[in-house]
C-alpha cells in the first residue's frame, strides 16, 4: 500500500512538473505586462517533441543517445525520494538528501559528456560552464543540508520534515539562512536568471542550453522534462523542508488532499518570488556566478554558525 502510494506520488510529481513550468511562465509574462501562453503549453511542447524525428549528429556516440534516459531516470528517482504531499513513505529511505545531490550529479555528468560528444565548440562550452557552476553550487548545497541536519540530526528528508512539523514554529536563524542559501543554489542549479538565461537564443552566452544544443525530438523532450522536474524538485524541497505544514502525515484521502492543496499554494507562492527575481535582474557575467554561489555558501555557513552560537546549549 505504502509503496503503491509512493509510486503514485512520484507519478504525480513528474506529471505536474510541466504545470509548474507553465505557471512560472505565466507569472513572468504577467510581470512583464505580456500575455502568457496557456498553463498547459509545456505539455503540448513535450508531446510535440516526443513525436518529432530526433536528429543525431554524425560524431555522436552511444553516450549522446543514452544521456537523456539517464538524466530523466535519475531525476525521476530523485523525485521519488522527496516527500511531496505525504511524509513517511517508504521510498524516502532509499536515499537521503546527500544521495539526492548525487543523483543530480550523475545526470549532469552524462549531460556534460553528451555536450562534449559532438565535438563542437558550443557543446564543450556549455559543459564546461555547467560543470563549473555546479561544482561551486555543491558545497553551498551541502552546507545548507548540514545546517538542517544539525538541528534535525538526520539527512533523511521524510524524517527531517517530521522533525520540523513536530517541533512546531521555532524561529531558527539557522533555518532562515539555510533556506536562503538553498534558494540561491536552486537558482543556479536549475539554470534560471541571474545565473543562466533559459530563454536566450544566443549560443555564446548559454550554459545549460549550449550543452543540449544538438538535442532534438524525444531526446530533447526528455531533457526538458527532466529540467522541469528538477525545478519542481528544488521548489518542493524548499517549501516542504522549511514550511512543511499541511503535508499529509497519514494516508487518509482527506490528509492527502489537504497536503496537495497546501503544496500547490506554497509552490505557487514560491514561483512568484522566483518570477519576480527573474524579471528584476539581468543575467550575471559568468565569472560573477562564483560570487553569487560563494554568497550562497556564506549564507549556509552563517546558518551553521548561528546554529552553533545561538541555538544550542553551551
Amino acid at each position: 500500500m505504502a509503496w503503491l502510494l509512493a509510486l503514485l506520488q512520484t507519478l504525480l510529481f513528474i506529471a505536474s512538473a510541466p504545470l509548474l513550468a507553465g505557471w512560472l511562465k505565466k507569472v513572468k509574462c504577467r510581470l512583464q505586462n505580456r500575455r502568457a501562453p496557456s498553463l498547459f503549453q509545456p505539455y503540448r511542447d513535450l508531446r510535440k517533441l516526443w513525436r518529432k524525428e530526433p536528429i543525431v549528429a554524425h560524431p555522436a556516440s552511444w553516450i549522446f543517445k543514452a544521456a537523456p534516459y539517464i538524466v530523466l531516470s535519475t531525476t525521476v528517482l530523485a523525485a521519488s525520494i522527496v516527500p511531496l504531499i505525504a511524509v513517511n513513505l517508504p521510498t524516502a529511505k532509499i536515499a537521503d538528501v546527500v544521495v539526492l545531490i548525487g543523483f543530480f550529479a550523475l545526470g549532469r555528468f552524462f549531460l556534460a559528456l553528451a555536450g562534449m560528444d559532438i565535438g563542437t565548440a558550443f557543446g564543450g562550452m556549455g559543459s564546461s560552464r555547467e560543470m563549473t557552476v555546479s561544482a561551486l553550487a555543491e558545497p553551498a548545497m551541502l552546507m545548507a543540508v548540514f545546517t538542517l541536519a544539525m538541528s534535525a540530526s538526520t539527512t533523511n528528508l521524510s524524517v527531517a520534515m517530521n522533525y520540523v512539523l513536530h517541533t512546531g514554529l521555532v524561529l531558527r536563524p539557522s533555518f532562515v539562512f539555510a533556506m536562503l542559501g538553498m534558494m540561491l543554489v536552486a537558482v543556479a542549479e536549475t539554470g534560471r536568471i541571474p545565473v543562466d538565461n533559459p530563454t536566450t537564443h544566443l549560443e555564446l552566452t548559454m550554459i545549460h542550453e549550449a550543452m543540449i544544443l544538438e538535442y532534438s525530438g524525444r531526446y530533447l523532450g526528455m531533457i526538458e522534462w527532466a529540467s522541469q522536474i528538477k525545478l519542481m524538485l528544488y521548489g518542493v524541497l524548499i517549501v516542504n523542508i522549511f514550511f512543511p505544514w499541511g503535508i499529509a502525515q497519514n494516508f487518509s484521502p482527506e490528509a492527502l488532499g489537504f497536503g496537495a492543496l497546501a503544496l500547490t499554494l506554497k509552490l505557487a507562492a514560491l514561483t512568484v518570488v522566483l518570477g519576480l527575481s527573474e524579471v528584476l535582474f539581468a543575467k550575471m557575467r559568468i565569472f560573477r556566478v562564483q560570487e553569487f554561489l560563494s554568497f550562497a555558501y556564506l549564507l549556509s555557513l552563517l546558518g551553521m554558525l548561528s546554529h552553533i552560537i545561538l541555538e544550542v546549549r553551551h
Binding site: 516526443w50 513525436r51 524525428e53 530526433p54 536528429i55 543525431v56 549528429a57 554524425h58 560524431p59 556516440s61 552511444w62 530523466l72 531516470s73 528517482l77 521519488s80 529511505k93 532509499i94 536515499a95 537521503d96 546527500v98 548525487g102 550529479a105 550523475l106 555528468f109 559528456l113 555536450g115 562534449m116 559532438i118 565535438g119 563542437t120 565548440a121 564543450g124 559543459s127 564546461s128 560552464r129 560543470m131 563549473t132 561544482a135 561551486l136 555543491e138 558545497p139 548545497m141 551541502l142 548540514f146 538526520t154 539527512t155 533523511n156 524524517v159 544544443l213 544538438e214 525530438g217 524525444r218 523532450g221 559568468i286 565569472f287 562564483q290 555557513l301 551553521m304 552553533i308 553551551h314
Partner: protein
C-alpha cells in the same frame, strides 16, 4: 591458514622477481629444456613450440605475470581469511638481527590491505603480459622491470606483515628503493631521472621521519617490537612529537599536501602497470602505516591531531583536484587525483581521531570505516584508470590529452571500462566511490556530538570542502573523458588507433571495473567485514550498518540516513527502460544522422571543438590564487595604428604553488648550508690533519 597464504603471496612475488632474472634468450635454458625433453619425450612436440626462440620470450613474460597473479590470488585469500576469520596470527621468522628476529603479525587491518593489494595485483597480472611486450625490444631489459616489480610487491606485503621496527623499516626501504628503480626504468629522459631522484630523496626523508617516530616510542618502551609500543604510556607532548613525525613520514609517502611534490612527477614516468600499483597500492601502504601507528601503537589520541589531519586532508583534497584539473598529461592528471583521494582518506582519519578523542568511539569507527573503504575503492578505480591510460598511451603513443579525441569510436570496449572508472572516481551513485564519500559525509554530519564549538564548525566546513572537491572531480573527469574519448580526433594518431589486440589489457581493467560496480551496488558486506578491523583497533563496531537488511546501508541508524545502492540501480534501470519502451518502442521515430550545427558556415573540424585547457579555464580563473600561472600572448601587429593582428601565439603554464613557495626556499636553504659547510673543505692537507687533531683532543676530553 591466512598467514600461509600471506607468506605464499610474498614468496610468489619474490619468485616472479627472480624468474625475471632468467635471461630472455638464454642458451643455457635451451639446453636445460632439451635435457628435460629427453626425459619426457612425449612432451617434445608441444614443448618444442614453447621453448623455441620465438615463443620463449612470450613464455618468459607470461610466467612472470602468472607468478604475480598467484601472489595476488593468495594475497586475496590471505586478506579475506584475516578479515572474515577475525583471528590475529603472530609469528617470528628466524631472520634479521641475532637478538631481534623478524616479528610477524597478521591481523584484520593487515588483512584488509592484503586484500587490497591482491585485488589490484590480479588486474596487473592480467594486464602486464600485453603491456610489457613493448619494452621487450626496447633498450631496457625486461628482467630489470620484472625483478623490481617482484621486489616492490614483496616489500609492500612485508610492510603489512611487520611487527617490529627493524623489520618494518627494512620492508619499507625495500618497497621504496625497488619502486625507485621502477620509476627510473625509462631513464633515457632527463626528466624521468629527475623525477626518480626527487622520489628517492623524499622517500629517504620520509623514512627518516618514520624511524624517528618509532625512535620516540622505542625510547620510552625500551624495545623495538610493536608489542612493546602498544603497552607504553607517553606524555601528551611526546606522543604529539611521535604523531607529527609519523604524519610527516607516512604523509610524505602518501602524498599529502604540501609533501606531494614527488607524486605527480614519479607516477607518470613509471610504466603504467607500475603507476597503477604505486598510485593504487603503495599510497595505501602509507595509509596503513599511519593507521597502524596512530590507532594501534599510540596509546592516546588528542583532538588537536584530529584537527591537524582534518585540515591537511581537506587541503590535499581541494588542492589535489585543482591541480589535477590543470593537467593535460593523462597520467599526471591521474597522479594529482591520487593526492586528492588520499586527502579524502585523511579527512576520514581526521574525523575518526576527533571523534575518538571526544570519546565517541562509535563515530570514530564510522569515520575509520569510511577511510578504509575509500582506500579500497581508490585502489580499485585508480588502478583501473591507470591501466586504461596505459592502454591509451600504448595504442596512440600520445600522453597529452589535447592530442586525443573520439576514441570511443575506435576503442569502444575500453571506453566502457574507462567510463566505469570515471564514474567511480567522480563519486557518482551507484558506484563505489560514492559509497565511501557518502560514509565520510555521514561521519561529518554527526558533528553535533562534538563538544567544542570551534571544532564543531570545522568539521562541516571540511565536509563542504569535500563536496567541492567531489564536484570538481566530476568536472575534471568530464574533461578527461570528454576530451579523450568523445568528440572528433584531434590528431592523426588518435584517428587511426584501434583496440588493443591483447585481451588481458582489457581484462585487467574490466576485472577492476566489475569490482567497482560490485562494491558500489552491494557495499554492506564489505562494511560489515570492516567491523572486524575497527573491532580489533578500537574495540567497537557499527552495529546498525545493515539494520534494514543487507541491501541497505544505514551507518548510524535507519532514521538518520539510509542508502540502498542496489535499489537506486534498479530504479534507474527501470525508469530508463520504461522511458525507452514508451518513447521509442511505441512508435518513436528512428533517429536520423546529420551534420552537427555549424551555423551555416560548413566544415566543422577538430580545431573547432573545445579543448581541455579551455574546459578547465573557468576553474583556473576562479581559483587563481591557488595556481602559479604564467600566461603569455605574443602578438604581432601591423598596419596603421598597429590596428591589425598578423600573428598570435598563446602560451600557458600552470604549476603547483608548492614549488615556488615551499620546495624552492628549502632547496635554497640547503644549498646555502652546504656552501657554508663546504668552506671547511679547504683542500689543504695540513688543515685536515688539524681537524683530526682537534677531534682527537675533544674525544679524549670527552672520554676523560
Amino acid at each position: 591458514m591466512a598467514l600461509f597464504f600471506a607468506y605464499l603471496s610474498v614468496v610468489a612475488a619474490l619468485a616472479s622477481g627472480l624468474a625475471a632474472l632468467a635471461v630472455d634468450k638464454s642458451p643455457g635454458l635451451g639446453r636445460f629444456a632439451h635435457w628435460l625433453l629427453r626425459r619426457w619425450p612425449k612432451l617434445q612436440v608441444r614443448a618444442a613450440g614453447v621453448f623455441s626462440e620465438a615463443h620463449y620470450a612470450e613464455f618468459h613474460r607470461n610466467s612472470l605475470f602468472v607468478l604475480l597473479g598467484i601472489s595476488g590470488v593468495s594475497a586475496v585469500l590471505a586478506g579475506g581469511g584475516a578479515l572474515f576469520g577475525g583471528a590475529v596470527t603472530t609469528d617470528t621468522l628466524p631472520l634479521g638481527l641475532p637478538w631481534l628476529n623478524w616479528h610477524i603479525r597478521f591481523d584484520a587491518l593487515s588483512g584488509f590491505f592484503y586484500l587490497l593489494i591482491g585485488l589490484v595485483l590480479i588486474a596487473v597480472s592480467l594486464y602486464g603480459p600485453g603491456y610489457v611486450r613493448e619494452f621487450e625490444h626496447g633498450r631496457h631489459p625486461l628482467s630489470v622491470l620484472g625483478l623490481f616489480t617482484g621486489l616492490f610487491v614483496a616489500g609492500m606485503e612485508l610492510v603489512l606483515l611487520a611487527d617490529d621496527t627493524f623489520f618494518f623499516v627494512i620492508a619499507w626501504e625495500l618497497m621504496s628503493v625497488s619502486s625507485y628503480f621502477l620509476v627510473a626504468f625509462q631513464h633515457e629522459h632527463a626528466s624521468n631521472r629527475r623525477a626518480a631522484f626527487l622520489y628517492l630523496l623524499m622517500a629517504v626523508i620520509g623514512a627518516m621521519a618514520i624511524i624517528l617516530a618509532f625512535g620516540v616510542l622505542a625510547g620510552f618502551s625500551g624495545g623495538l617490537t610493536f608489542d612493546h609500543f602498544r603497552t607504553v604510556k607517553l606524555t601528551p607532548v611526546w606522543a604529539s612529537v611521535a604523531f607529527v613525525l609519523a604524519l610527516f613520514g607516512f604523509g610524505m609517502k602518501a602524498g599529502l599536501v604540501p609533501l606531494h611534490a614527488w607524486l605527480p612527477e614519479a607516477h607518470p614516468v613509471a610504466p603504467s602497470h607500475i603507476s597503477a600499483l604505486m598510485s593504487g597500492v603503495m599510497l595505501k601502504v602509507a595509509v596503513y602505516g599511519f593507521i597502524r601507528f596512530t590507532f594501534d601503537l599510540l596509546d592516546q589520541v588528542l583532538w588537536q591531531w584530529g584537527g591537524l589531519v582534518l585540515v591537511i586532508g581537506a587541503a590535499s583534497t581541494l588542492l589535489g583536484v585543482l591541480y589535477a584539473m590543470m593537467q593535460h598529461d593523462i597520467k599526471r592528471l591521474l597522479a594529482y587525483h591520487s593526492v586528492e583521494n588520499i586527502g579524502i582518506i585523511f579527512i576520514g582519519l581526521g574525523l575518526s581521531l576527533i571523534y575518538i578523542s571526544e570519546g565517541q568511539q562509535q563515530l570514530g569507527a564510522l569515520a575509520l570505516v569510511a577511510a578504509l573503504l575509500h582506500s579500497l575503492n581508490h585502489a580499485l578505480f585508480k588502478s583501473l584508470l591507470f591501466l586504461g591510460a596505459g592502454t591509451i598511451i600504448h595504442q596512440t603513443h600520445e600522453q597529452n590529452i589535447e592530442h586525443l579525441g573520439g576514441l570511443i569510436h575506435r576503442m569502444p570496449k575500453l571506453a566502457v571500462v574507462f567510463l566505469i572508472g570515471t564514474l567511480s572516481i567522480a563519486a557518482l551513485p551507484p558506484f563505489n566511490g560514492f559509497v565511501s564519500e557518502w560514509l565520510t559525509f555521514q561521519a561529518a554530519l554527526q558533528a553535533s556530538g562534538i563538544g567544542g564549538g570551534v571544532l564543531r564548525s570545522m568539521v562541516p566546513t571540511s565536509a563542504s570542502v569535500l563536496a567541492l572537491a567531489g564536484a570538481l572531480t566530476a568536472t575534471c573527469f568530464v574533461k578527461l573523458y570528454g576530451v579523450v574519448f568523445l568528440g572528433l580526433p584531434r590528431t592523426r594518431r588518435a584517428a587511426t588507433c584501434h583496440e588493443s589486440v591483447h585481451r588481458g589489457m582489457l581484462a585487467g581493467p574490466a576485472w577492476l571495473a566489475g569490482l567497482c560496480v560490485l562494491l558500489g551496488v552491494f557495499p554492506t558486506p564489505m562494511i560489515e567485514s570492516l567491523n572486524v578491523v575497527t573491532g580489533q583497533l578500537l574495540g567497537v563496531t557499527l552495529p546498525g550498518a545493515s539494520a534494514l537488511g543487507w541491501l541497505w546501508l544505514t551507518p548510524v541508524a535507519p532514521e538518520v540516513a539510509s542508502y540502498s545502492a542496489s535499489l537506486v540501480l534498479v530504479g534507474i534501470l527501470l525508469t530508463g527502460w520504461v522511458c525507452y519502451q514508451l518513447l521509442y518502442r511505441r512508435g518513436g521515430l528512428e533517429a536520423r544522422r546529420a551534420d552537427p550545427w555549424d551555423c551555416g558556415f560548413g566544415g566543422l573540424n577538430a580545431r573547432m571543438q573545445y579543448t581541455a585547457t579551455a574546459f578547465s579555464m573557468p576553474i583556473r580563473r576562479i581559483f587563481e590564487p591557488v595556481f602559479d600561472v604564467e600566461e603569455t600572448i605574443e602578438e604581432k601587429k601591423s598596419g596603421p595604428g598597429n590596428f591589425q593582428n598578423t600573428g598570435l601565439h598563446y602560451q600557458l603554464r600552470v604549476s603547483d604553488l608548492a614549488w615556488p613557495y615551499l620546495y624552492a626556499p628549502v632547496a635554497r636553504v640547503v644549498t646555502w648550508l652546504s656552501r657554508w659547510v663546504s668552506r671547511i673543505q679547504t683542500g689543504n692537507i695540513r688543515t685536515y690533519i688539524a681537524y683530526s687533531f682537534f677531534t682527537l683532543l675533544i674525544l679524549l676530553w670527552g672520554i676523560s
